[in-house]
Structure formats: structure tokens, C-alpha cells
């Protein structure tokens, strides 16, 4: 035990000690959700030599609409095998929020560890149509606005206020896909210059193809451990020194789309600015959203942004946020970072955001 980082008074040190993710692919057609999850859950335990019986709580994140049936999480539990019966819960949110629920429970001291997992396949349906059903059912959803069009409104707002140009979007995409070349789990990686990317056609102006995330099937799992248990299972745990999430109004007209006040507030509450940040894994599905998030979290030029390639390299619904926490933790384990920030988002145009600060000792 090498000690614990400084925490908010009363908080218990909880660390990310294991992480596994599925290959991010366009279509995982051979397997259903359970079959996709099974090897990932097995791997997250095998990494640290434990079994499902060693964790005190299980929490998952997913959404029914991706497979078009109720209770998608029910069958998914079979990937863990909850027998004998286990303390377990589920959020209809990205797995990053499932991790938050587990972290809250770990604070109380009754349990020392938790399994968190999340899954989602974009391939069974048309994601543009599905995500339209996430909008206000009376005023917005009947118009079927697709997520790319909404994101384009946001990107255009950034251009209109003079905070970014299309070249900036291309620069983000170029860097992200180049970083992804070293990420074996990435779905979309390439070495192409911003100039080359700017020659692409618009998908929805001002967003060209490169500014959009890929459609991804995938899943991920994390093990959290508290106190000394974290060191039993991991040489250098990535301790959560701050975690917070906030939501904004749903109506796009009620928000300044060029800013992310919920990310800013969550970042302040999580203590992002208290010390130097080495790595920030940001869940920015659209290239321009990274610029908004970097601004909200006040990350300087010295911060390595999404070295995994981020959501532009792979965007598995419901687990892309959890994967940011996993990637940031890996940077701590390997010594690439001493202090990392992970971010997750949900809802149209960055409506809801979670910020997690991870530190190694």
C-alpha cells in the first residue's frame, strides 16, 4: 500500500483497478448482447485474478431502445451469472453513471468492491431515428431531428460566435484518428491531414464526414475497489479523487450551445483545476464538441486530449463514457499520467455531463 491521494473530507478512496472493452466494430452481428459481454466481463476479472464472487455490488448501464425491446439489461445479467443472488442495479444511462452509483455505495463502507459494465449495439437499428426518440416527445421528437443535424446546429453556433472554424474541427478529427492508430480497440483510425479532411463533402453543414463519430457496437467493464483492497488487486490504482455530474435544460433553444456549463460545474466540483492534468479522455462524439469541453474544463495546451482517439475513434452507445474512465485509468496504471480527467456525456448536444478525476500515487 503506497498510500492514498488527498480526498474531499469524509470521502473514501476508491480506485479503478481493472478495465476491459470489446473490440469496437461496426456490426457485432454474430453475437447478442450477452455473448458480446461475456468475454469482456471474464477479462475484467481475469486481469486481476478475481471472480464475480469477489465483488460486493454490480451496476450496469444500457438502454432498451438500441435493441428495440424492453429489459435489455435483464438478459445481459447472464453475462455475469448472478447466482447466488447478488446486490445489483441498473441505470438507463451511460455506464459512467453506473460507475457513479457504485462509487456512492462504496463511500458508505459496507462493501469494498464493485463490477460496473455497459453495453450497446448501434447496428440493430437506425441510430439517427432511435436518438430522435430521446427528444421532447411533444415538440421535438415528432420532427425526427437526427443527432447529426442537432450537432451541426451546435457547430454552426461555434462558428457564428467566432470561437472555431471548420479547420479547427478537422484538426480535432485528424489528431483523434491519428492517436487511434496506437489504440488496438479503435474502430476508426487513420493518418490524414486536416487539409485532406477539409476536402470531404458535408454530411450536414458545417460538419463533414470526419467530424462525425463512427457507428459502433461494443461494451466495456470496470472493477472498482476501495481502500487497501484497491492495492491488493492493482499495483497502482487509479483513485477517484473527484466525480460529479450535472444536467442542463433539454430544449436546445434554452441553452447556449457553444458552452457546456454542466461540464464546467461538474469539473469544478470534481476538482479538475486543483492540480496539473496529464491526460483528459473526453467523450466528444462530434469533433467540435471537444473544443467546447476543453473550454469548459479549462484544459491547457499541455494536456494530452483523448490519446485513445476518443469517441471519434469508437462510439459504442452507453459504454463510450465508461470507456473514457477506463482509458484514463490505464494511463495512470502505465505511468503515462499521474493525474487524469475522464468525461462522459449524454443527451442531445452535450446536455448531461459527468467529470471524473483519477490520480495515481
Amino acid at each position: 500500500v503506497s498510500g492514498f491521494p488527498e480526498l474531499t473530507s469524509g470521502h473514501r478512496p476508491v480506485g479503478v483497478v481493472s478495465f476491459a472493452q470489446h473490440d469496437n466494430v461496426r456490426r457485432e452481428g454474430e453475437h447478442n448482447d450477452v455473448e458480446m459481454l461475456m468475454p469482456v466481463v471474464a477479462e475484467v476479472f481475469a486481469n486481476i485474478g478475481i471472480t464475480k464472487d469477489d465483488v460486493g455490488f454490480i451496476c450496469s448501464g444500457s438502454t432498451d431502445y438500441l435493441i428495440g425491446g424492453p429489459f435489455s439489461f435483464v438478459g445481459a445479467l447472464d453475462a455475469v451469472g448472478v447466482w447466488p443472488p447478488r446486490a445489483e442495479s441498473h441505470v438507463e444511462m451511460d455506464g459512467a453513471w453506473a460507475l457513479y452509483e457504485a462509487w456512492v455505495l462504496l463511500q458508505e463502507g459496507e462493501i469494498d468492491s464493485a463490477l460496473v459494465y455497459a453495453f450497446g449495439r448501434s447496428s440493430p437499428g437506425d441510430l439517427s431515428e432511435i436518438l430522435a426518440l430521446q427528444l421532447d416527445p411533444y415538440y421535438l421528437a415528432p420532427l425526427w431531428p437526427d443527432p447529426t443535424s442537432l450537432a451541426a446546429l451546435q457547430a454552426q453556433s461555434l462558428i457564428d460566435v467566432g470561437r472555431a472554424t471548420e479547420a479547427d474541427f478537422a484538426a480535432v478529427a485528424s489528431r483523434a484518428r491519428r492517436s487511434a492508430l496506437t489504440n488496438p480497440k479503435a474502430q476508426l483510425a487513420y493518418d490524414r491531414s486536416p487539409e485532406e479532411l477539409l476536402r470531404e463533402d458535408y454530411e450536414v453543414a458545417p460538419l463533414r464526414r470526419h467530424a462525425l463519430p463512427p457507428l459502433t457496437d461494443g461494451c466495456a467493464a470496470i472493477v472498482l475497489a476501495a481502500g487497501d483492497r484497491a492495492y491488493e488487486w492493482c499495483e497502482r490504482p487509479a483513485f477517484i479523487t473527484g466525480i460529479d455530474h450535472r444536467i442542463e435544460a433539454h430544449a436546445l433553444g434554452a441553452r447556449d450551445l457553444t458552452r457546456s456549463p454542466s461540464t464546467r460545474l461538474a469539473g469544478v466540483k470534481a476538482g479538475v483545476a486543483k492540480a496539473r492534468v496529464d491526460v483528459a479522455e473526453l467523450h466528444a462524439p462530434f469533433a467540435h464538441q471537444e473544443l467546447i469541453l476543453v473550454d469548459a474544463l479549462e484544459l491547457g495546451d499541455d494536456v494530452s486530449i483523448s490519446p485513445s482517439g476518443g469517441a471519434l475513434a469508437a462510439n459504442p452507445m452507453m459504454s463510450a463514457g465508461l470507456i473514457r474512465i477506463g482509458e484514463a485509468s490505464q494511463a495512470i496504471w502505465t505511468g503515462q499520467a499521474d493525474r487524469a480527467v475522464a468525461h462522459a456525456t449524454s443527451g442531445p448536444c452535450l446536455q448531461q455531463n459527468l467529470v471524473c478525476v483519477l490520480e495515481g500515487v
Binding site: 446486490a87 442495479s89 441505470v91 411533444y138 444536467i247
Partner: protein
């Protein structure tokens, strides 16, 4: 360390078939505003909002909490969404309470709802899935064979379920928020209603309701403040537990699920319950189909296995007949079933009883109460104990 926490505010809408006068946002806000008023608070006093509901296809809105952020005063705050099938209302209450018990927040608003009239739950439950056998039967069709197994195992007389159906509907007549008010309810009326899934008659099944439930969970400090502001005492949370088990495998006892028994054991350990029938003054238990009362009486340890029907038959669970352990004094799920909120209504009703605010369906001097919800193929369980005494 776990901090003390309590229910300090309660709100619920009247449950009915169609709330055509409000949107989903209007429905949940109605319950939330009522809970805030009960606690002497406004939205500004709330630290976080936790929303629960059953499958999103029940309304046709994916992750509707995103759209509800404004209506629930959550803008700029943490907002959380729980979904654990039918147990969700209970699990949501528990997730909210942990945000306070962990010392992270002082006052958390938790809301659960279903607006079934916006979609069709029977359809949503029966969508064919790849790799799965379609049930095409809704929940009743799923549970009827399990009930028949219980009857076979326990030797319970066929009228046991009908007794529960009558008893809970008589209770509902005392609850102005209940959906079904059937003043003429009788054994004969239940027996003459159409047979849906043998042995379940139409009147032995829960209705489809629109409705919302809300609670404010407060810390010790918040509870003291609310009590001094409103004169209404808090309902202290003495224990909370959740358990899950797989839907199906060869060794599973679906009649008396291990997860339910384990969940109760964990809960009773926390709350110091040794003899549930004697230690509780009342219970609100998720009984969507009549026969689940005797089955859960056994699963929750109110009697030995195989004898639950005897308590029902003897009137032990009836408030009106002066039973020693009244169950579902509100009328229960059999009288109101806004699915996502049905579990929270169980938890909420126990708090209402402990606070002495249950009106006509109040159990005199209720000091300790059990709330239970279950979901999925009776595989997800959430439970809590609330009491008058500070734990």
C-alpha cells in the same frame, strides 16, 4: 460511514387510466411539487434528482429524464435515471437514499412515473426478440404458471387469490389516490369476472394506470429542519437492500425466489428485525396479481413456507378486518399500477404510515413498516424498512 436519512416529503398523483390533461412533464411535476410542499421546501433546496421508470417503450420516449430535467428543477444539478424493471420504483428510492446515506447530499428529490396511456405496455412487453422465445402474453401470462405451481405446492384453496383481490380493493376505497374504487367489490364479483390466465380472473390483476410518485430524502439535519418547519415527522430509513438473480436456469425456484429471501435477510439484519410478523406494524408489498400476497408472505418470512394462504384466509393482512399485519392498506398494486411508480408507491406508503399521514387507511400507531418491490421474472427485489424511531 453511513449517515442517517429519512423521508421528509411525499407527493403522489391520483392514479387513473388516462391523464389526458397533462404531459409526462406535467404529471411528474405534480407529484414533485406536492412532495416539496410537504417538506416545506422548493426546488432550490434540492441537491439532486433521481428518476425511475419501467421500460421506456411504455411511453415511447427514450431516456425521458433528459426531457424532464426542467420540469423537475434539475437544471444545473445531478440527475440520475434508474431502471430495474418492475422493482424500479423501489430501487430508485434506494439509489436516492444512498446519495444521502453516503453523506454526498442533504436533500434528494426522487420521482417515479408511468404514463401508460401514452403507449401500450402489453405491446412493449411482447416485442419479439432475436434468439428469444416470444411470450406474447404480457406479465400475467408469465406469472400464471408460477402461481399454479404455488397452489400445487402449498395446497392453497382456489379462492385465496380472490380474497386478496377483494381485500386490496376494499383498502383502496380508503385511499383517495387509488385508481380503482370498486364499492361493490365481492368474492362473487371477482369470480364472475373473465378468466384471463388461469387461475387469475380479470379482477385479480392490476390495472393499467397513469401516475407519478415523489419523495424527498433528507439527511438528519434536513429532517430536523423539515420537522420544525412543517410539524410533520420524518420516516427514518432503518435499512435498504436489493438483490437480483437470473431469469431462468434449471435450479431456480421461481415460486419462492432465493433473491427475495436473501434480500429480506440482509434487510432484516440491518433493521434488527427477527420476527417480521411481530416486528412490523404494516407492509406495502408488490402484489400485481392477487396470488403474490400469499407467495410473498412466505418469501418475506411472515410465516413458514406453504402457509401464506392461511394468513390471507384468516384476514391477518386486512386493515378493515383488524388483521395483525395489514398488507397494502393503500390498495396496493392491485388498485393502482403506474408501473414505474408502483414500487415507489409501496415505499412511499410505508413512509406515509410511519409519519401518521395515511388518513383513512392509516394503521393506528404504525411504528415500523416494510416496503417491497419486485420486477422482471420475479428476479429483481428492492426493499426498505422505515420507522418512527431514529436508527
Amino acid at each position: 460511514m453511513s449517515e442517517r436519512c429519512a423521508v421528509i416529503g411525499i407527493g403522489q398523483t391520483v392514479a387513473k387510466s388516462k391523464r389526458e390533461d397533462v404531459s409526462i412533464a406535467g404529471l411528474v411535476r405534480e407529484a414533485a411539487v406536492m412532495a416539496l410542499a410537504d417538506a416545506g421546501l422548493t426546488f432550490a433546496d434540492i441537491d439532486a434528482v433521481v428518476v425511475g421508470k419501467a421500460p421506456d417503450m411504455f411511453e415511447g420516449v427514450m431516456m425521458p429524464e433528459l426531457y424532464l430535467a426542467g420540469a423537475l428543477g434539475a437544471v444545473g444539478k445531478p440527475m440520475f435515471r434508474v431502471h430495474t424493471a418492475g422493482s424500479v420504483g423501489g430501487s430508485t428510492s434506494i439509489v436516492a437514499a444512498h446519495l444521502v446515506a453516503s453523506g454526498i447530499h442533504d436533500r434528494v428529490l426522487t420521482v417515479a412515473f408511468e404514463k401508460q396511456s401514452d403507449s401500450d405496455a402489453m405491446w412493449a412487453l411482447s416485442v419479439p426478440q432475436p434468439f428469444s422465445t416470444p411470450l406474447l402474453a404480457g406479465a400475467g401470462g408469465y406469472f400464471a404458471p408460477i402461481i399454479r405451481a404455488y397452489m400445487h405446492r402449498s395446497g392453497a384453496p382456489r379462492d385465496t387469490g380472490m380474497r386478496v383481490a377483494v381485500k386490496d380493493r376494499r383498502h383502496a376505497l380508503l385511499n383517495p389516490y387509488a385508481h380503482l374504487h370498486l364499492p361493490d367489490i365481492s368474492m362473487q364479483m371477482v369470480e364472475e369476472s373473465i378468466m384471463l390466465w388461469d387461475p387469475l380472473h380479470y379482477l385479480e390483476a392490476c390495472p393499467s394506470s397513469d401516475g407519478a410518485a415523489a419523495m424527498i430524502i433528507g439527511s438528519e439535519r434536513a429532517a430536523a429542519q423539515a420537522e420544525s418547519d412543517t410539524g410533520r415527522r420524518p420516516a427514518w430509513i432503518h435499512g435498504m437492500a436489493m438483490r437480483s438473480e437470473p431469469t431462468m436456469f434449471a435450479g431456480r425456484d421461481q415460486v419462492n425466489p432465493q433473491a427475495g429471501r436473501d434480500c429480506a435477510a440482509d434487510l432484516y439484519r440491518q433493521a434488527g428485525i427477527t420476527d417480521p410478523r411481530a416486528d412490523f406494524d404494516m407492509a406495502e408489498v408488490y402484489v400485481p396479481f392477487s396470488w403474490y400476497e400469499p407467495m410473498w408472505l412466505e418469501n418475506l418470512g411472515f410465516c413458514p413456507e406453504g402457509e401464506g394462504w392461511k394468513l390471507t384466509e384468516a384476514g391477518a393482512t386486512s386493515l378493515i378486518d383488524g388483521g395483525d399485519i395489514p398488507w397494502n392498506c393503500s390498495g396496493g398494486v392491485l388498485s393502482s399500477n403506474p408501473i414505474g411508480a408502483s414500487g415507489m408507491l409501496r415505499f412511499l406508503e410505508t413512509a406515509l404510515q410511519i409519519r401518521g399521514l395515511a388518513g383513512e387507511h392509516q394503521v393506528p400507531d404504525a411504528r415500523r413498516a416494510l416496503g417491497q418491490a419486485y420486477g422482471g421474472g420475479s428476479q429483481f427485489f428492492s426493499m426498505w424498512v422505515v420507522g418512527v424511531d431514529k436508527p
